[in-house]
């Protein structure tokens, strides 16, 4: 089958991932809903994962893909913890609007 990248080009993947990453960043900034913000962060991580796989192919090397597993584990753990925090906030404030979190400042 050969290297897919011969037909697509690693640059294109990099561009794709950069844009996807930026959308993630944008989402984090744009939304007040904590859940959506979490999702945006997941988009960022996914963009990187995709790039890992692309580089893995580029180098014809398995390590990149192995790293993606770790990255997924991290994402899962983060989401678990993040949602746990979110739940306790929701219990206290009955809201998950991150703009309401302004008690600490100055």
């Amino acid at each position: 089958m050969g290297n897919v990248l011969n037909q697509i080009g690693i640059e294109n993947y990099i561009f794709l991932c950069v844009i996807l990453f930026s959308i993630g960043v944008f989402g984090v900034l744009y939304r007040r809903n904590a859940i959506i913000v979490f999702m945006s962060i997941e988009i960022m991580l996914n963009a990187v994962n995709l790039l890992f796989v692309a580089f893995s192919t580029y180098h014809q090397d398995a390590q990149g893909q192995v790293f993606v597993f770790f990255s997924m584990a991290v994402a899962a753990a983060e989401v678990a913890v993040g949602l746990a925090i979110l739940v306790s906030i929701f219990r206290n404030l009955n809201s998950i609007d991150i703009d309401n979190l302004k008690n600490l400042k100055g």
């Binding site: 960043v25 984090v28 900034l29 007040r32 991150i98 703009d99 979190l101 302004k102 008690n103 600490l104 400042k105 100055g106």
Partner: protein, 637 residues
């Protein structure tokens, strides 16, 4: 052997001081006084011994006590030099000192702090001895400042009166202005000659001059002239010459014996002593000599004019002292050192006598000093009157009293050197005669103008007071003999110190006799005017507020004090207030300002941290973008 005697000479008064400080209070009613007198008397005896010795051998005694300190290339020893000049000074310092101590025993009899008074007097004698006997300028400076200190302590002796304290302070400060000049003078001499010893300075100067070429020689000499001028400023302070004379009249705040001893006979002549000591320096600087002569002449006339109208008995004497000191400086400026010294001695006698006499009067009147409230005292105080009369005649230059000889010599010298100065001096002399007799008439003649209460208590002073008066009156009468025109013992005596005379002795020719006659006539004129005005017409000086015109100006001493106040004291106090209130606050505020600004920035910064995650992320990303694009821009990435 010499060392022991010299230590005895010096330390006797110091011991008197220390004993009086610690035990004076317990030493019985008059114990402190007699102790102090005795201490000075010991010094007088030692002085006398050396004086007799030097008259025979004509060799000075020099003793090095110990090395004091060194600076630059100069090492300063605590050295004592007893030569003709210092012994002469010692003679009248200790002699008159003894008398005045004795006088004070009675005079201060009622003061609760007597022992301190005598302690200070002794300390003064000690410093005066040091001033006179030191063999270098720095030891002289110890004495110089020391007598200033004692003067301060004694002027302010009645410390509860803040006016007296002001006067004391003023005396000290004025002296210190002069002392700065003295210091600078010393620095220059030390720098140029690498020594401060009188004995070595002339040789060092000669040696230096021999090494230098013509132009450098001139420079060297002009530097020395500056030194001479600086030293003269010091002398001005101590000897109350223009512009630093105003402290002396105020110094009359002290007890009268102090005025007699310190502010008439001894301390104020320190300036003359110093100039005489350093005569070789002044001889090299004719310009400075001119300055000295002019300052002396002007001081004598200015002080005399002020003295004409003063009503305070001691003030008159004080201005008279300033005036006489001016005459001495006139002589110094003309290079006639021995003449100045002569006048110092005679002046010491008669002025001490006058002051003590006035003290006797004041004592009798329980502290009254205003002549307008005196009169007719000769009835009650004959001895005081007679001694006072003799001294007045002496100061007025009436032969055969001592003042005639000394003053005549000054005027004669002036006549030969500079006619203008002669005229000024003569006028001052006439004025002296006038105000002295004005004083005499107002005090001792006509009717008593004081209260009945005072009149009731009038009495002649006790023997302890009259005895010194009599001794001093005798000295004032015959003191002129030590330098009888044409056959001067004094000039010969001082010759080893002052060197060969360039002026030579005045040959008693027609001119000289004419001058003497003029002087005597002048004195008589002054006395005559006073007689006409105060005895014949019986005038009494007007009350302060009734004075007008020139009289008022003179009475207020040409407003010099006010001018000084306005020119120096006020501005410096204003500056001080400005510094204290404005500049200090501003500087302090400037430093605090840093803190305030930082804190203000901190407060503003807290607004940035508003708690919003969005904002934090925004700055995060902006920071990231900035860093990445900076590196990108630099083609690093």
């Amino acid at each position: 052997m010499d060392q022991t005697y010299i230590l005895l000479l010096l330390l006797a008064p110091l011991a008197g001081f220390i004993l009086n400080v610690f035990f004076g209070k317990k030493a019985g009613h008059n114990g402190a006084g007699y102790l102090a007198t005795f201490a000075v008397f010991i010094s007088f005896c030692v002085t006398l011994m050396y004086f007799l010795q030097i008259n025979k051998t004509a060799t000075p005694v020099q003793v090095n006590l110990f090395e004091w300190f060194s600076f630059g290339k100069v090492t300063v020893n605590m050295g004592i030099l007893l030569d003709q000049l210092s012994l002469l000074w010692l003679m009248f310092v200790t002699g008159i000192g003894t008398l005045i101590h004795l006088y004070s025993v009675s005079y201060m009899h009622d003061d609760e702090n007597r022992h301190k008074f005598f302690a200070y007097l002794n300390l003064f004698i000690f410093f005066m001895l040091l001033l006179v006997t030191g063999d270098n300028l720095l030891v002289m400076f110890i004495g110089w400042e020391g007598v200033g200190l004692c003067s301060y302590l004694l002027i302010g002796f009645w410390y509860k009166n803040q006016d007296y304290n002001d006067a004391a302070k003023k005396a000290f400060i004025m002296n210190r202005i002069g002392d700065l000049g003295f210091l600078i003078g010393m620095f220059i001499i030390a720098y140029l000659t690498k020594t401060l010893d009188y004995a070595q300075i002339p040789d060092a100067i000669k040696f230096k001059l021999s090494l230098l070429q013509e132009p450098q020689q001139m420079k060297f000499i002009s530097a020395l002239s500056i030194a001479a001028l600086a030293l003269f400023i010091g002398a001005c302070g101590k000897s109350a010459q223009i512009p630093l004379y105003t402290w002396l009249p105020d110094a009359m705040a002290g007890p009268t014996p102090v005025s007699a001893l310190i502010h008439a006979a001894t301390m104020v002549t320190a300036g003359i002593f110093m100039v005489t000591r350093m005569h070789f320096l002044f001889d090299l600087a004719p310009n400075v000599q001119n300055v000295i002569a002019i300052v002396g002449a002007v001081t004598s006339i200015v002080a005399a004019t002020i003295g004409l109208v003063q009503n305070d008995i001691k003030k008159v004497l004080a201005y008279s002292t300033v005036s006489q000191l001016g005459l001495m400086f006139l002589a110094l400026g003309l290079g006639a050192y021995e003449v100045a010294v002569f006048h110092v001695i005679t002046h010491a006698f008669f002025k001490a006598c006058l002051f003590l006499g006035s003290g006797s009067v004041i004592h009798a009147l329980h502290g009254e000093q205003d002549m307008r409230k005196m009169g007719a005292l000769k009835k009650w105080m004959p001895i005081t009157y007679i001694t006072f009369l003799i001294s007045s005649l002496a100061i007025s230059g009436i032969p055969p009293f001592s003042g005639f000889f000394s003053k005549d010599e000054i005027l004669m010298t002036a006549f030969h050197e500079n006619k203008v100065l002669y005229v000024i001096g003569s006028v001052a002399s006439i004025m002296t005669a006038f105000y002295m007799f004005r004083l005499l008439y107002l005090t001792f003649f006509k009717d008593f103008r004081g209260t009945e209460e005072q009149k009731h208590h009038l009495h002649e002073s006790p023997a302890l007071i009259t005895f010194p008066l009599i001794v001093l009156a005798i000295l004032a009468a015959i003191g002129g003999l030590i330098s009888f025109p044409g056959a001067s013992w004094l000039n010969q005596y001082l010759a080893p110190v002052l060197g060969a005379k360039e002026h030579g002795e005045h040959h008693l020719g027609t001119t000289e006799y004419a001058l003497m006659a003029v002087a005597v006539i002048g004195g008589l004129i002054g006395i005559g005017i006073a007689y006409a005005k105060y005895l014949k017409k019986g005038e009494v000086p007007p009350a302060d507020e009734e004075m007008t015109g020139l009289h008022k100006v003179l009475y207020h001493k040409y407003y010099i004090d006010e001018a000084y106040e306005f020119l120096f004291v006020k501005p410096i106090n204003a500056l001080s207030t400005f510094f204290r209130d404005t500049l200090e606050t501003a500087l302090s505020g400037f430093v605090y300002g840093f803190g305030k600004v930082t804190n203000a920035i901190g407060d503003q910064g807290r607004l940035l941290q508003n708690g919003s995650v969005g904002r934090y992320l925004f700055f995060f990303v902006m920071g990231m973008v900035a860093i990445v694009s900076y590196l990108f821009y630099n083609k690093i990435v």
